[in-house]
Every structure is written in structure tokens, then in C-alpha cells.
């Protein structure tokens, strides 16, 4: 019976999960890699290839990653600092840059906060209870990962735009959603929707319900049980989801670009300002903002690696009698 749903084993959901942006979480399954002894290539091992073949394969892998992944990253910092360190900081101190940073932080706070709350609620319903249609519900939660960012923005234009379903009503009541903070936040919530729920569901399923049931039978209320029993068990998984959700929220470009309207100093987030400055040939300023986002990405990767190690500990099944 354990194979009825697709997310019973810890690996299955994480592998199956890797659609579009969300594939970042799929690397969760790599955690296993660190625990298992690897096949170490020694000259006498028949499970390996001849020396020259090994050399060519490693050379191909390393040069491909260097050209396609490392160099673009280096270019960001080199271009940002190409006119010196003072030009770099001057670009970041521009009022336009500061307002973009403020807007990005605000939108990330709104969308991460709401997705955190609803992600935990969704994970509780899906991981702790059995009901028909569970797999389908998880597929629906995953949907934003497979939708083009441009389409994620477009759907809100169709709802709230001047020619959209509710456009006339909104205009009559002087409510601004599109080309304003609410629209940007909505589009960002849409694209980051699955992150928190998806990193919690496999974890909470793996941990089972025994500890919560014990707490309830000892007289704890539902909320007490959640905050005293469940939350401490899932805290690293929760942080993991929040981390990836935040990285995507701050870096989202396509969806936000469609709904923002590009009003300078008002509705430009950091990624949008990178685009505008680049198209105006203000390369230092553009890459200065880009370098902040690149640093965010690098910090996210480092913290993610640390959290993956913590998650190993959380994934130990709790249903085992101790």
C-alpha cells in the first residue's frame, strides 16, 4: 500500500518534484550522496575507465562549467567594478537604486510571509491526513513551477488590466493593483507559491503523526501541538523552503516585468532596474545592482548546503519507537 501515492518515499517526491525553478529542491535528494560511500576511481578498479578517458571527461565537465557558469558570474562582478570601487558604491547609492532595493525587500517580505503561512497550513493538511485526490492537489500546488514567468504575469493582467475582467470596476473605485505594489506582490506570490509547501510535505510525511497524537492524547490543544511538537521537528525544512522562496521572490524578473509597468522610482524592483540600466548603456550601475543579486544567489547556495545537512537529521523517521 505504500506506493499508492507518489510521495511516500522521501526520494520519490524530491526527484519527481524537479520541475522548472523548483528543481533547486530536487538537489535535496543529493543529501543521500554524502552518506553513501562513493565509487572511488583507483587504477586497479575495473569499475572505471582508462586514464586518458577519465582525463577527457573531467576536462570536458570542468571547462563546460567554467565557460557557461563560472564566467558569467565573474563577468557580473568584473563589470560592476570596472570603473573602480567608488563608482560601484556611487551607483548603489542612487535614489533609483535605493527605491528598487526597498521595493524588492517589501515584495519579498509580503510574498515570503504569506507563502510561509499558507505553505505550513497546506503541508499540515496534506502530510498529516489521508484524503482522496491528494496527488492531484500536490500537482496543482506545483503548477507555478511549470508555467512560464511571462504567463504568470499575464494572468494578472487579464484579471486586473484596463481591458481585464475587473479592470473597469477597479478603475471606477480608484483601486490600483496593476502597475503598483499589489500586482507585483501577487505575481511574486504566484511564482513562489510551491516552495514552502513542497519542502515541508515530504518531511512531515516521513515524520508521521505519532508524536502529535501523543501530545493531543496528553491534552495539548491543536496549536500547542503544532508549535511545541511539529514546528521544532520541521524547523530546518521550513527554513529551507523560506530560503529558496526568498531567493526566487527577490530575483523574479519575467512575471514582475509584465505587471510592474516600469514606473521609475516607484514600481521597479532590482531585477527590473538591472534591465533598464543595461538598456540605457549604464553598465556599471546595471552590474552593480546585478552584483547584489548575484551575492544573494551565492549566499543562498551556501546556506542551502548547510541546511541540507541539518535536514538529514530531520528526515530520520520519528515513528520509530525510541
Amino acid at each position: 500500500m505504500s506506493t499508492q501515492t507518489s510521495f511516500v518515499t522521501p526520494e520519490a517526491p524530491l526527484k519527481a518534484y524537479a520541475s522548472t525553478a523548483g528543481a533547486a529542491i530536487s538537489s535535496l535528494s543529493r543529501r543521500e550522496a554524502r552518506e553513501r560511500p562513493r565509487a572511488i576511481a583507483s587504477p586497479k578498479d575495473f569499475r572505471t575507465e582508462p586514464g586518458p578517458v577519465r582525463f577527457v571527461i573531467v576536462a570536458l565537465a570542468v571547462s563546460f562549467l567554467t565557460i557557461f557558469v563560472v564566467l558569467p558570474l565573474v563577468v557580473v562582478f568584473a563589470s560592476a567594478l570596472s570603473k573602480g570601487i567608488s563608482a560601484y558604491f556611487a551607483a548603489l547609492a542612487e535614489p533609483e537604486a535605493l527605491s528598487a532595493i526597498r521595493l524588492t525587500l517589501l515584495v519579498a517580505a509580503i510574498s515570503v510571509g504569506l507563502n510561509l503561512l499558507f505553505g505550513v497550513i497546506a503541508a499540515w493538511a496534506i502530510a498529516k491526513f489521508d484524503f482522496p485526490g491528494k496527488t492531484f492537489l500536490v500537482t496543482l500546488i506545483d503548477l507555478p513551477f511549470s508555467v512560464s514567468p511571462v504567463i504568470s504575469g499575464l494572468v494578472f493582467v487579464l484579471l486586473f488590466g484596463a481591458q481585464g475582467y475587473w479592470g473597469t470596476w477597479l478603475q471606477a473605485h480608484n483601486i490600483h493593483i496593476l502597475f503598483a505594489v499589489p500586482g507585483i506582490a501577487l505575481a511574486t506570490i504566484f511564482v513562489t507559491f510551491p516552495f514552502v509547501a513542497r519542502s515541508l510535505i515530504p518531511l512531515m510525511q516521513e515524520q508521521g503523526t505519532l508524536e502529535e497524537e501523543a501530545a493531543i492524547s496528553l491534552g495539548a490543544s491543536g496549536l500547542q501541538t503544532f508549535f511545541r511538537v511539529t514546528l521544532p521537528n520541521i524547523k530546518w525544512g521550513l527554513l529551507y523552503g523560506v530560503l529558496l522562496c526568498n531567493a526566487r521572490a527577490m530575483g523574479e524578473f519575467g512575471a514582475v516585468s509584465v505587471v510592474s509597468g516600469h514606473i521609475r522610482g516607484e514600481t521597479n524592483t532590482m531585477p527590473l532596474l538591472v534591465e533598464i540600466l543595461y538598456n540605457e548603456y549604464q553598465f556599471v550601475a546595471s552590474f552593480a545592482i546585478a552584483s547584489l543579486l548575484a551575492m544573494l544567489a551565492l549566499i543562498t547556495l551556501v546556506v542551502k548546503t548547510v541546511l541540507e545537512q541539518r535536514l538529514d537529521e530531520e528526515l530520520i523517521p520519528r515513528d520509530d519507537p525510541r
Partner: protein, 278 residues
């Protein structure tokens, strides 16, 4: 099944959390997506067909799907080589290169876009030597292809890596002891058992490249019919207030990605039946 009943009775909050989940899901995901499909219904089938078969739309779809397919093929081959090097060999900096694979996921797409453009522009670090060879990358379809390769590489690597790590060494030992040379063992024994993972990685990289916007538009040049991708055409139609055109293209792309999700799900099931659980 008795545990299922026990769960339902003893833990509180199912009704409340399920209700909130469905409400939030409807508000953020389902109603907006339904709006997209409803908007298409306002078009007559003839209008819909006319939009999709206009020269510019067809070319944009051809460029998006064609180049994504080519990029996913490159990702498949290079991804396999990278996974092999990372899993099977020890070399200096292996752990760092393993971590580097995730950068295309983590780097905001606009940052990747301007960085790749700068790198491959005529005076860029790689663009200048390539220009001397007579190859122009930035602002041509080759540029789109390069950006799609960049964005897709982690999908193949991260899908195949855990499967290669978990591969039972006894299979290889058996093949070797039965007299297969290394070449045969790799191509007849190991690679076939990686096929579901390889195809999944390919499909995910392809899907991502088709929908990709930020990392492509800077390097693309965006000439209609030549280097204009479908997501950009949606944005252009929106800015011209031609909502119907934008919606029709979006629906086609959305349906394509639903087909890919379905294919990936089937692949996962196939993989689970092929590889016996430990």
C-alpha cells in the same frame, strides 16, 4: 488503512487547514489560470487559428521550441558527462564544481541575461575571440541557444546524479565478470539504466527553456521572425494591448507545459518500476 482512519480522528485541524489551502490555491493559482482559458473562449476558433498561424507567431513558437530542443540535447550530453565526472572521479575542486552546477537555478534570470550578453558581445571576453573566427553569438539565435543551455544544465545533472550514485555496483561487476569490456558495460548496462532519469532531465530542461524569458531576451537581439522567442512576443502583444493575441500564444505554451508535466510524471513512474527499491 486502519492508520488512515486513526489519523483522521485523532489530529485536529483538517477541515480548517484544507479549507484555507483550497481558498488560497484558488485565489492565487486557479482563478487566474481559469481567467486565461476563459479569455481564449472569447475568441472564435477561426480567430484563434489566425493568431496562431500568423507568420510572426509561428516563427516565435518555432524559435522557442526548436532552440529549446537543441539546447536540451546539449544539456543531455554535457549533463551526463558532468554527472559522470562528479560521481565517478576524484579531481581537484570536485566539490566546488558540484556546488557550481546550482548557480543557474539560484542566479536571478535578469542577472544571467546581462552577464551572458556582456560575455558574448562583440567586445566581450568570449565574444571577441569568437568574432575573430567569424562567429557572432550575441543578438543572434545562437545567443538564445547559449542562454537556454545555461539555464537547463542543472536539470539534467540534478536528476541523473542521485540515480547514478544509487546504481548497484554489482550490475557492473556482473557485466565485467561475464567478459564485457568497459565500453560495453557503460553503453549497454549503465546508460540504459539511467534512461528514465536522463529523459526526465531532458524534459525538465526543455520545459524550462521554452518558458524562459529573463536570461534570453538580453542576448537574443529580438528581431521578429529571426530571434524573437514566444514569451517575448506575449509581452510585446500585451504592450500593444492586443490581449487576445497574447492569450492565444500563452494558452498554446501552457498546454505544451502540461503535456511535459504529464510526460515527466509517467517517466517517474516508469523509473520507479524499473529500478527495484533497496
Amino acid at each position: 488503512m486502519s492508520t488512515a482512519v486513526a489519523r483522521r480522528t485523532s489530529l485536529p485541524g483538517f477541515g480548517l487547514t484544507m479549507g484555507l489551502t483550497l481558498t488560497w490555491l484558488s485565489v492565487i493559482i486557479l482563478i487566474p489560470l481559469a481567467g486565461l482559458f476563459l479569455k481564449t473562449l472569447e475568441l472564435s476558433p477561426a480567430q484563434f487559428w489566425e493568431i496562431l498561424t500568423s507568420r510572426r507567431t509561428l516563427n516565435a513558437l518555432r524559435i522557442s521550441f526548436g532552440l529549446s530542443f537543441a539546447a536540451a540535447c546539449v544539456n543531455l550530453v554535457m549533463g551526463t558527462i558532468i554527472v559522470w565526472a562528479l560521481v565517478r572521479y576524484r579531481f581537484p575542486g570536485r566539490r566546488i564544481f558540484d556546488a557550481i552546477v546550482d548557480i543557474p537555478f539560484a542566479l536571478p534570470t535578469a542577472v544571467a541575461g546581462v552577464a551572458l550578453t556582456q560575455l558574448f558581445a562583440q567586445k566581450g571576453w568570449l565574444g571577441a575571440p569568437l568574432a575573430e573566427l567569424g562567429i557572432k553569438v550575441a543578438f543572434t539565435p545562437i545567443g538564445i541557444f547559449i542562454a537556454m543551455v545555461f539555464i537547463g544544465i542543472p536539470f539534467v545533472v540534478r536528476t541523473v546524479q542521485p540515480v547514478l550514485i544509487d546504481l548497484d555496483p554489482e550490475i557492473e561487476e556482473a557485466a565485467a565478470s561475464l567478459g564485457a569490456d568497459r565500453w560495453h558495460t557503460v553503453f549497454r548496462v549503465i546508460l540504459p539504466s539511467l534512461i528514465p532519469a536522463l529523459l526526465t532531465g531532458f524534459a525538465l530542461a526543455f520545459a524550462r527553456a521554452v518558458g524562459e524569458y529573463g536570461s534570453v531576451i538580453f542576448i537574443a537581439g529580438n528581431l521578429p521572425n529571426v530571434s524573437e522567442i514566444a514569451p517575448l512576443l506575449i509581452v510585446i502583444r500585451l504592450s500593444e494591448f492586443r490581449y487576445a493575441d497574447a492569450t492565444a500564444i500563452a494558452v498554446v505554451m501552457l498546454l505544451a507545459s502540461f503535456v511535459i508535466i504529464f510526460a515527466v510524471n509517467r517517466l517517474q513512474r516508469w523509473a520507479q518500476t524499473r529500478i527495484p527499491a533497496h
